[in-house]
Amino acid sequence: MTPDSPLVQVITVCVLAYFILLNGGYLLLNFLAMFALRRRAQEAVLDELPQVYSALEPPISILVPAYNEEATIAASVRSMLQLSYSEMEVIVINDGSSDRTLQVLTDEFSLVPFPEAYRIQLETSPVRAIYRSTRFPNLRVIDKANGGKADSLNAGINAARYPLFCGVDADSILQRDSLQRLVRPFLGDPHMVASGGTVRIANGCEVRGGFLTRVGMPRSPWALFQVVEYLRAFLFGRLGWSVINGMLIISGAFGLFRKETVVAVGGYTPKSIGEDMELVVRMHRKLRARGIPYKIEFVPDPVCWTEAPEDRKQLRNQRIRWQRGLSESLSSNWGLMFSRHGGVAGWLAFPFFILFEWLGALVEMLGYLFMAVAWWQGWISWESFAIFLFVAVGLGILLSAFGLLLEEISFHLYQRPGQLLLLAAVVIAENFGYRQLNSWWRLVGLYRWARGGEAKWGVMTRKASWQRDIT
């Protein structure tokens, strides 16, 4: 190749165009999110008033799959029982834990065997026994053979009594009104089939009795990067999609579903890695194919918090896992892409995910690689390389800053000026290494999925120390 040859020029322009489209797309989503936030803000006066219940809210079954959670399961379940909601039941599914999870539950909640006439709507690995709590009449525990999170959720669905079910991770930290907020989309819209939020980073926050009491900023740089990343990509990006009913992901950490619809589309897929996304994409595909009107809404309120990985290795494993889950979810639902009745989900969201989330890692890495090599080899001038870096980083910073602005408009969780300054610094720093590292990890995930390797969950050491128990 010679300097400024047509081929080099074309590739350069393509790479630049890709980065501009990627960030531009996200910026557009953020604008859409702003509309939704404005509407929310207008109704804020209703939220501030003391709540009056009338017991006509739809009853909810909370499903908590648990695997080897002996350190934290008791506090978790207790906090779920304290959620303020008029009618709900909590079903904990012990997924064949090898530690003392079941024993802890039995002791803590005085479990006795319950002769449930178990109804198999979805196939799962064998259920060994069902227990109920004598202290809390609305708590049941299912003990089953190990089968994975999706399988556990299916077992929970089989046992759930109410028309809506809420899938919660055992380590999700909720707030007392979380369920009330999550159910809101269902109240005024009979076509709602799922609602979900995104998780917020709990590192650095004060947690008591399983509830979040004070918001703080994490110390670890990895966690800090994730805070900004969540604001930029996972929070307002998804809210934007929700405005046009193209939301493809509901976080498994806290999501509310209409049980009847989920059973009709086949429940969760066992052995899937990203079972939360896979279900939602399948719901879009099947409901659209059958022409059934539906809505899936995103609730941007900070209702669910979780501990983010604070060291590189755990973070890497998480991101690789996510990319594999994404790949699986998309590849098993190709039917949605450009399908006849696909709507926004099939014609905008799915292609966007394919191009920018799925293949995105590949294009980004190749882009960086190409530009670096081209400059080194003298195929492009250093001005071109500088412009490329300028655009890639500049747009990235703009996007992160915009996420920060939206957070400021809507929830302003980080109120101290010092926190704001720190976030601003992270917004800039994030684009000089973290994003690129992320792309690399996603590329590894893509490769692993393509190769069909076995899923490695990795063990995330649960830091029970910062979950201060109130007793």
Binding site: L16, A17, E43, F114, L187, P190, E408, A424
Partner: protein, 353 residues
């Protein structure tokens, strides 16, 4: 290596465009940063004003709640009015009766009613919501036309709260004017409607029944379901007519309303329906209405192919107040496996509660 001062924009137009894209991105980022700072500062200011306002007015509002006579009231500047009403609303939602009237008196003395009426028509969405709530508490008849218009608006939150305001002001008149609309809208949350109607059932019940009788057959099932969910009672003849309807959806909704012994004959007939949902609702109703003769009927349904029908049949049997433990045990032992399982489960559930 050239120095950075030798930077020359490449001739390629795309690269030039990209360069300017980068520049504008940076500029926009700066703007965004300034906007964030501005928002923070304005939020701080508002918080301070709110605190000052609370300190100044809360004791007076509390005195009004306690029924004290208030002498001279301090001046309420224009820009504090919205914050004042927010505080006032918060207190209004916590009390009722004479305390509520005391708060209304102080608001009227300060001219808030006039201000709220203006906001109701000319304010932005948030201000209109605020005004709606305030005028509802004040039972302001003068705002009736504006509120009535708001009830017909497409926006779910504004319209349902306007309905609330109307019901607060004059429940009977609101029923007369709005009952048909209530039956047609599907975007008003049930819990909100329950709140609104809880103290106005006597005024709304007859009007809703009448509006229901005038609903078209296509709109009848959802309307009937709404009425059932709100636990409104229908006149006996009307309910019996619905229970005899050939439409499955109408029967389903009507069965939820079956609470009086007059309809027990029809309920029993529906136990044999081919649609499992009708059997389910009939079983449920029988749990509340049934007598000794229904034990046999419910027992047959314990072996129904549908899980939910078996479940409700077991619950219904346990709900019947005249079955002794021995009789229940005998039932369990002499039934088939499915029935026995279900009875055991429901017995255990009852024990737990």
């Amino acid at each position: 290596m050239e120095s950075i001062l030798d930077f020359r924009l490449p001739a390629n137009i795309y690269l030039q465009a990209a360069f300017w894209a980068g520049i504008s991105a940076l500029g926009l980022t700066l703007l965004v940063g300034l906007q964030i700072i501005a928002l923070r500062m304005s939020m701080r200011r508002t918080q301070r004003r709110e605190q000052a306002l609370t300190l100044k007015w809360r004791p007076l509002l509390n005195a009004a709640i306690a029924g004290e006579e208030l002498g001279n009231l301090p001046e309420l500047p224009w820009r504090d009015r919205v914050l004042f009403i927010k505080l006032w609303l918060h207190l209004q939602q916590a009390v009722r009766g004479e305390a509520s009237e005391g708060l209304n008196a102080i608001a009227r003395r300060l001219g808030c009613d006039e201000h709220m009426r203006k906001l109701l028509v000319s304010g932005n969405r948030a201000e209109r919501l605020l005004a709606t709530l305030a005028l509802g508490h004040m039972r302001d008849r003068e705002s009736w036309p504006a509120l009535a218009r708001a009830v017909h608006a497409a926006d779910s939150a504004s319209s349902v709260h306007a309905l609330w305001a109307l019901v607060q002001t004059d429940a009977a008149r609101a029923a007369y004017e709005m009952a048909p609309l209530l039956l047609r809208r599907d975007d008003w949350p049930l819990s909100q409607l329950g709140n609104i109607l809880q103290n106005a059932r006597s005024e709304w019940q007859p009007v809703l029944a009448e509006a229901l009788s005038r609903t078209s057959p296509e709109e009848l099932p959802p309307a009937l379901r709404l009425v059932a969910a709100l636990r409104i009672d229908l006149p006996q003849a009307q309910l019996q007519a619905y229970l005899d309807s050939p439409h499955v959806d109408v029967v389903l909704a009507a069965l939820r309303l079956a609470r009086s012994p007059h309809v027990i004959g029809q309920v029993r007939r529906h136990l044999e329906s081919t649609d499992w949902r009708i059997r389910l609702q009939a079983v449920r109703a029988l749990g509340e209405l049934g007598d000794r003769s229904d034990v046999a009927r419910l027992r047959t349904l314990l072996s129904d192919p549908e899980w939910w029908v078996r479940y409700r049949a077991a619950q219904a049997l346990l709900a019947l107040p005249f079955l002794t433990e021995a009789e229940l045990a005998q039932l369990r032992d002499s039934s088939d496996r499915y029935a026995a399982d279900m009875l055991t489960q429901v017995l255990a559930e009852k024990e737990a509660a």
